[in-house]
């Protein structure tokens, strides 16, 4: 038996011994232990160092409010820093290490801060380290950063998986203590869909450590029966090891389930944590109450813990907090702890009660010091005595642990996350949850009903009301007979007078009473200022223990009620939640869906290099044997298209079919150029503006029938344009009779471009493709040889004779193969988007590199397209604003490189020759650049102030970022075939 393990009792499985390590030492505990209870049992009270002063710190609580016992659990890539030992379930092989200490936990250099603490008062860093300036980043800040922080990570890749799930219920019960179980039983028996969530690994809450008998038995027996019954109801889901961390709008709760955090071996098929989003018609928060520490000198010494924790360790885990425990209380709870410990054979050194008029009875033989208070503790890494003061008479009382009880605060965190402010109860000397409406009610201790009988009654009552509200008959609940119970009344004591050493309010962040005094003195008396200035309540426990004391102390100093001081804001997360759980499985390659073109397989077979374009993968270029660089491949593809023909996958373009008697009118209002008179069987380039007059997207409009159109969008804007059209049709002009559907995925679409395009295409198409029969901008259904129907559009992005052929997606590869075979004698090649980009730059066609959301049609050289005589179109009115028509706007131009050995690249800016670089002198920027195999030089598209007046000017292409400056000549952006002879051929 280990040092502090009691000989019997507790809910641990003594037959099951578990080995674990702490800072490398081999230790053992039992199934049912937490890491904290096992450490206590092994006399490992010192578990961490505090944040600022590096003071030795022990275990304070037996739950999720723990500020001190933060350790790193796990090794390698499975290290979890800052894990609370008090809630970590012990498992075989658990490896824990202490934090924030160097070189060791017992001897920590950082503790020198404690000696210097008076120079390190609250906010001291705002007042110094300002000189010399460069020293902050180089000297002071690195020192501060290294000293601060808690656990360590070098951010290794996490080997484990995570999952998210939705759940729906009539009633969510948070907490499985007496109130929660009673509520769940009533609801389950009444046929509701119930989810019962418990952050502990064992269901039962306070019943697991409570000693008041229920129906004459230990209360955990009652909880076991209740849980067994709940398991039997089909509509009930029990979620232990699950913490509800947030309450969001519409009664949606976020919860995280620790699926495999209690095992050294991880089953890769299952997640380690699961995030639940629970949609609850109703919720009952049966989250209990948190015991408050007392703020007395030396209250952070290892061995000082919450009285309720001492009871829990004794009753549930069979561990004594010490061999001789001093109890310091301001209410009845301290007496209950005295009784619990005495009953288990732990010596009570003394029971110090701050009240003079208390009538509580201590167990026989326990010395009670009424009207007293602890003013200091002795010992270094474990308390060995306390100094008690009664009426100025000081006494040293030897002990090896102190159990403190400062009263109770209902756990109301979740109820306050949506803006409701806690309400101070003078009677309970505590903040209660505000009324937040029907969806969420508090029950039991969380509602300020501390007695066990009240908790059971309140849980059942609140659930019954919900069952009724849902219009169901309420099932009965017969409360078990409750034995002798404690009413934990207390008299608030915010700050124990006469502290002889630091009296901590916030343990983890080392905020003590004097810091709050200093904050007030310096004008930071508002509770938010005090928090921010002293960092009280900002540690990983978010002030679960300390905040109410801090408020009480501020109130006392300001001479007002805690109600007037108020609380700081409650926000998610109730307890910290891992990135992994919140992200779920959407990470790495699965962060966003992958979309592949129907011609992906075809492109892959031809050796394509793929790049991602939004969610899509597009074939970028098709290297051939012997080609060493991408440029070689792209140059070849471009030349082949210009001289012979090429086939390019353009399936990713957005395609939307538009139907209805008002389809033409609708599109006429949507595009800035006229659409109304587009003949059936013809396509037209279309430019869409935003209402502010800037270009939104471009594409084509094809009229397939009198009331049937097909529009295409760019790949990037496909989703946006569809929503934009839907908005226009539904919200702007619902009177227009029009419907549409995205058909992007139905079609594989390929561009066949080049002087041989017609010949090649004619080999697979039945219909006559002669210039007369299928002229430029023809668009209609055709039949492929072999009777497959397809859509053919004679449109050109490359500037060549070109067609886009669309076939049902599944046939895409087969048709592309057929075209490649048919084109082989003509020198047809596959080309990718890189070559397409070169071809379109040579032709002066714009993409979203040019149409970047700040460009008008006129800027892009497309001003003539505007149907200014149309009565209305989106963007018409605001496009005439002064600033959008100013003469010095940047306009699209071409640039020809004049220095062959220097690169032009997109993103360069433009400067007049000889001008000094400055924002004022900035003449524009380069949007697209390529090497033009056709022209044998680098060319670019650029936006230049008043650019169209400046053809012929020599301009500096200024790329200081890459250290390149070169000279280029401004020219018309159409470099190839300005007369359009090729595409009309």
């Amino acid at each position: 038996m280990t040092a502090y393990r009691l000989a019997s009792g507790g809910l641990i499985d003594r037959s099951n011994t578990i080995g674990f390590t702490f800072d490398g030492a081999n230790l053992s505990g039992h199934a049912g232990d937490t890491l904290a209870s096992a450490l206590l049992a092994n006399d490992r009270l010192l578990v961490g160092r505090s944040f600022k002063y590096h003071r030795p710190r022990g275990i304070v609580t037996a739950g999720s409010a723990e500020p001190n016992a933060l350790v790193t659990i796990g090794t390698g890539a499975r290290r979890d820093p800052n894990t609370k030992a008090t809630v970590a379930e012990l498992y075989d092989g658990l490896a824990a290490t202490s934090q924030n200490r160097w070189p060791s936990l017992a001897f920590d250099i950082g503790a020198v801060n404690d000696r210097l603490s008076r120079f390190l008062s609250a906010g001291f860093y705002y007042k110094t380290f300002m000189w010399p300036a460069a020293f902050w980043e180089k000297v002071y800040e690195p020192l501060i950063r290294r000293a601060a922080g808690l656990g360590r990570t070098d951010l290794p890749r996490d080997p484990d998986g995570y999952e998210k799930s939705w759940a729906h219920c009539d009633l969510l019960v948070v907490g499985s203590g007496p109130a929660g179980l009673a509520a769940a039983l009533v609801a389950a028996r009444s046929g509701l869909r119930v989810i019962l969530v418990e952050q502990d690994f064992a269901l039962g809450g306070a019943l697991l450590s409570e000693t008041t008998k229920l129906d004459g038995e230990a209360p955990y027996i009652f909880s076991r029966h209740a849980i067994d019954e709940l398991h039997g109801h089909p509509g009930v889901t029990l979620l232990p090891r699950t913490t509800v961390f947030g309450w969001y709008d519409d009664n949606v709760f976020g919860a995280v389930e620790r699926v495999q955090k209690h095992s050294a071996t991880i089953d890769a098929a299952r997640p380690v944590e699961r995030l639940w989003r629970i949609v609850a018609k109703h919720a009952i928060l049966a989250t209990g109450a948190e015991e408050r520490p007392l703020v007395f000198g030396g209250n952070d010494r290892p061995g000082v813990m919450m009285a309720s924790a001492a009871s829990t360790y004794a009753n549930r885990f069979g561990v004594a907090a010490g061999r001789s425990v001093a109890i310091f209380t301001n209410g009845s709870s301290g007496y209950r702890t005295a009784a619990d410990l005495s009953a288990r054979g732990v010596e009570i050194a003394a029971l110090i009660d701050s009240r003079t008029d208390a009538s509580d009875r201590a167990p026989d033989g326990v010395r009670v010091v009424r009207g007293g208070g602890i003013v200091d503790t002795k010992g270094r890494q474990r308390v060995r005595a306390v100094i008690a003061d009664r009426g100025g008479f000081e006494e040293m009382i030897a002990c090896d642990a102190v159990a403190m009880s400062g009263g109770w605060s209902p756990v109301i965190h979740l109820a306050c996350q949506r803006g409701g402010r806690p309400v101070w109860s003078q009677a309970l000397q505590a903040f209660l949850a505000p009324e937040v409406g029907d969806g969420l009610v508090m029950a039991g201790a969380a509602a300020g009903h501390y007695r066990l009988s009240e908790c059971l009654d309140d849980g059942a009552r609140k659930a019954s009301a919900i069952v009724e509200a849902l219009g169901r008959p309420v099932a009965g609940f017969e409360r078990p007979v409750v034995g002798e119970e404690v009413d934990p009344s207390f008299t608030a004591l915010w700050h124990v007078p006469g502290a002889r050493s630091k009296a901590f309010v916030d343990f983890q962040n080392d905020v003590h009473g004097k810091d709050l005094g200093l904050a007030l003195r310096e004008g930071f008396g508002h509770v938010e200022h005090a928090k921010r200035y002293t960092t009280s309540g900002m540690a990983t426990d978010q002030g679960k223990l300390g905040n109410v004391n801090a408020i009480g102390i501020l109130a006392a100093m300001r001479g007002v009620s805690p109600a007037e001081v108020g609380t700081t804001t409650f926000r998610p997360f109730y307890t910290p939640v891992s990135f992994g759980a919140l992200a779920g499985s959407s990470r790495d390659e699965h962060a966003m869906p992958v979309r592949r073109s129907p011609l992906h397989g075809w492109a892959a077979r031809h050796g394509a290099v793929f790049i991602d374009a939004g969610l899509w993968y597009r074939s970028s270029w098709f290297p051939k044997a012997g080609e060493k660089t991408w440029r070689e491949s792209v140059d070849r593809e471009v030349r082949t298209v210009r001289e012979h023909a090429g086939l390019c996958d353009v399936s990713t373009l957005g395609k939307i079919e538009v139907f209805g008697p008002d389809a033409a009118e609708f599109l006429n209002r949507l595009y800035c150029n006229p659409v109304l008179k587009l003949p059936v069987g013809k396509a037209r380039y279309g430019l869409m503006l935003r209402e502010d007059g800037m270009v939104y997207d471009d594409g084509t409009v094809s009229r397939l029938g009198e009331t049937h159109f097909l529009v295409t969008t760019t790949t990037a804007m496909a989703a946006g344009v569809l929503s934009h059209m839907e908005f226009a049709a539904q919200a702007l002009w619902p009177e227009l009779r029009v419907r549409f559907l995205s058909v992007s995925d139905q079609w594989a679409q390929m561009s066949i471009a080049g002087p041989k395009a017609r010949t090649i295409l004619q080999a697979v198409v039945e219909d006559d493709l002669s210039n007369a029969a299928f002229p430029f901008l023809a668009a209609r259904e055709v039949r492929l040889k072999g009777s497959l129907k397809a859509r053919l559009f004679r449109i050109s992005f490359s500037g060549e004779l070109a067609y886009e052929l669309a076939v049902p997606a599944g046939y895409g590869e087969a048709v592309a193969d057929a075209l490649m075979r048919a084109g082989e004698p003509q020198g047809l090649c596959a080309y990718g988007v890189e070559a397409l980009n070169v071809l379109r730059i040579e032709k002066g066609h714009v993409t979203h590199a040019e149409l970047d959301g700040r460009v008008t049609p006129d800027d892009a050289g497309l001003g003539r397209m505007m149907g200014t005589s149309k009565p209305d179109f989106i963007g018409k009115r605001l496009s005439t604003r002064f600033g959008l028509t100013a003469a010095d706007r940047a306009q699209l131009v071409g640039l020809k490189a004049l220095e062959a050995d220097k690169d032009m690249r997109a993103g360069a800016h433009l400067l007049k020759d000889g001008a000094k670089p400055s924002t004022v002198n900035d003449q524009g920027w380069v949007s697209s650049v390529c090497f033009s195999p056709t022209l044998g030089t680098h060319i670019a598209l650029a936006f230049l102030k008043s650019g169209r007046e400046r053809y012929g000017e020599k301009i500096i292409v200024w790329d200081r970022l890459r250290g390149v400056e070169t000279v280029a000549e401004v020219c018309d952006p159409v470099f190839v075939d300005p007369e359009n002879r090729r595409l009309m051929a």
Binding site: P81, T128, E137, R152, L275, R571, V577, L582, R587
Partner: protein, 416 residues
């Protein structure tokens, strides 16, 4: 009292009992030369520079809550000047230069940490965009560097180079960018303004704006009427509500932006890093918490709290950029009310109403602008004309067609 290592030493020996309040708690006077509505970073900075640079010291800042209770106490503390458009870049660079002298100027350590900001990019188009931006910075004389993948791998080995949905191909670095301790900025300006005679009036909510003959003469407040010669609004997310009291209708929508902080960790991320395949950005505070955020929730809200779906999306972006964040625990989420303008850029201008001045539209980028915003606003109020770096930040730029649309997203505020 002046702050220094010596003062800390002396006070410590005296038990730290001799420290004086950082600012007075005055009752409002009946009349001021200038009243500034909003005791956040921008309002306090405006007051400070009015007094310090332009000699106008009969100034009050009225704040409905406590000083710094708005977005200056609720942001991700990033300071940078890596903008692209000529309407913005000189302004933010002016701001960064003010930041660089702020600590000595204010005798208050705002912990400006010029650790550098790295904006990652993931494809050629994004690279070109960042190059354009980097060159725009260099036109203004602001140093920028392009980092290639190999350099990034050495600097930030924890990034997801090999398994990312959108692989990282490079980054744009501004070394002078970094972070500052947000609350300290408010407190430093407050203390500085107070020492120059400015009255900082907390818990004083403006309930009305009084006009006589069309001219603003003062404000009704929960502490009574306070008269003024000039009224300056710096109310951030509440701009529309205050403006409405004077009949102003503004190009502003109030939106919520969430930000997050993790539990404290020993130093592991030494820069500010932004993710180009999403909107995620992250840095590590001096206390060890990783401070991060991403896009706005997207809907109009004055509630100062966000929703879980957005939070989850932020985390998805986070672990996709830095897989090792997976086991780090997020401690706290909060939400600020952002005054989103129609082009994503701010407004520092006069209004159609005489004596009424406007400072708003900071979207979610107001923190870095704090000193320049205050300086330029003070300049406008004192001299009646815009400071040259803020000349483009006009209220009438929308109707006149001179938007400053850094994102190219048009007039939908939640897209900026």
């Amino acid at each position: 009292m002046r702050y220094s290592a010596l003062s800390i030493f002396k006070q410590a020996l005296a038990g730290n009992l001799g420290w004086k309040p950082a600012w007075r708690e005055p009752q409002p006077k009946p009349h001021y030369d200038v009243i500034i509505v909003g005791g956040g970073g921008h309002g306090l900075a405006t007051a400070y520079y009015l007094a310090r640079e332009f000699g106008i010291r009969n100034v009050a800042v009225v704040e409905k809550g406590y000083l710094g209770s708005g977005n200056v106490g609720r942001n991700t503390t990033i300071v940078r000047s890596n903008y692209m458009l000529p309407g913005n870049e000189p302004f933010y660079e002016f701001s960064l230069k003010l930041w660089e002298g702020l600590e000595r100027e204010l005798n208050y350590n705002v912990m400006l940490s010029q650790r550098g900001i790295i904006s990652l990019y993931h494809n050629d188009g994004q690279r070109d965009h960042y190059v354009r931006r980097g060159n725009a910075m260099m036109m203004e004389g602001v140093a920028a560097e392009q980092l290639d993948r190999e350099t990034l791998k050495k600097m930030l080995p924890f990034l997801n180079f090999d398994h990312a949905r959108f692989p990282i191909i490079g980054g744009l670095l501004q070394r002078r960018a970094g972070t500052a301790r947000h609350d300290a900025v408010a407190w430093g300006f407050a203390r500085g303004a107070d020492r120059l005679g400015v009255d900082l009036i907390q818990n004083c909510e403006v309930t009305g704006i009084r006009r006589e003959d069309g001219i603003v003469t003062g404000v009704e407040t929960t502490k009574g009427f306070i008269g003024c010669n000039r009224l300056a609004l710096a109310a951030a997310g509440n701009t529309s509500r205050v403006g409405e009291m004077a009949g102003l209708k503004l190009p502003i929508e109030s939106h919520v932006l969430q930000a997050f902080v993790t539990e404290g960790l020993k130093p592991c991320i030494d820069h500010v890093i932004t993710y180009g395949a999403g909107h995620f950005y992250i840095s590590q505070s001096d206390k060890g918490g990783l401070v991060f955020g991403a896009e706005i929730d997207g809907y109009s809200s004055y509630a100062q709290r966000g929703n879980l779906a957005t939070a989850e999306h932020v985390m998805e972006e986070g672990v996709t950029m830095i897989p090792g964040l997976s086991r780090v625990r997020v401690l706290r989420a909060w939400g600020g009310v952002m005054d989103m303008s129609m082009d994503g850029s701010p407004i520092i201008d006069r209004t159609p109403i005489d004596n009424l001045y406007l400072n708003c539209g900071w979207c979610y980028g107001g923190f870095k602008a704090t000193p320049a915003s205050g300086f330029c606003f003070a300049h406008l109020i004192a001299k009646g004309e815009s400071h040259h770096v803020a000349r483009a930040l006009r209220l009438d730029r929308f109707e006149r067609g001179f938007p400053i649309d850094e994102a190219g997203a048009g007039t939908q505020p939640n897209l900026h």
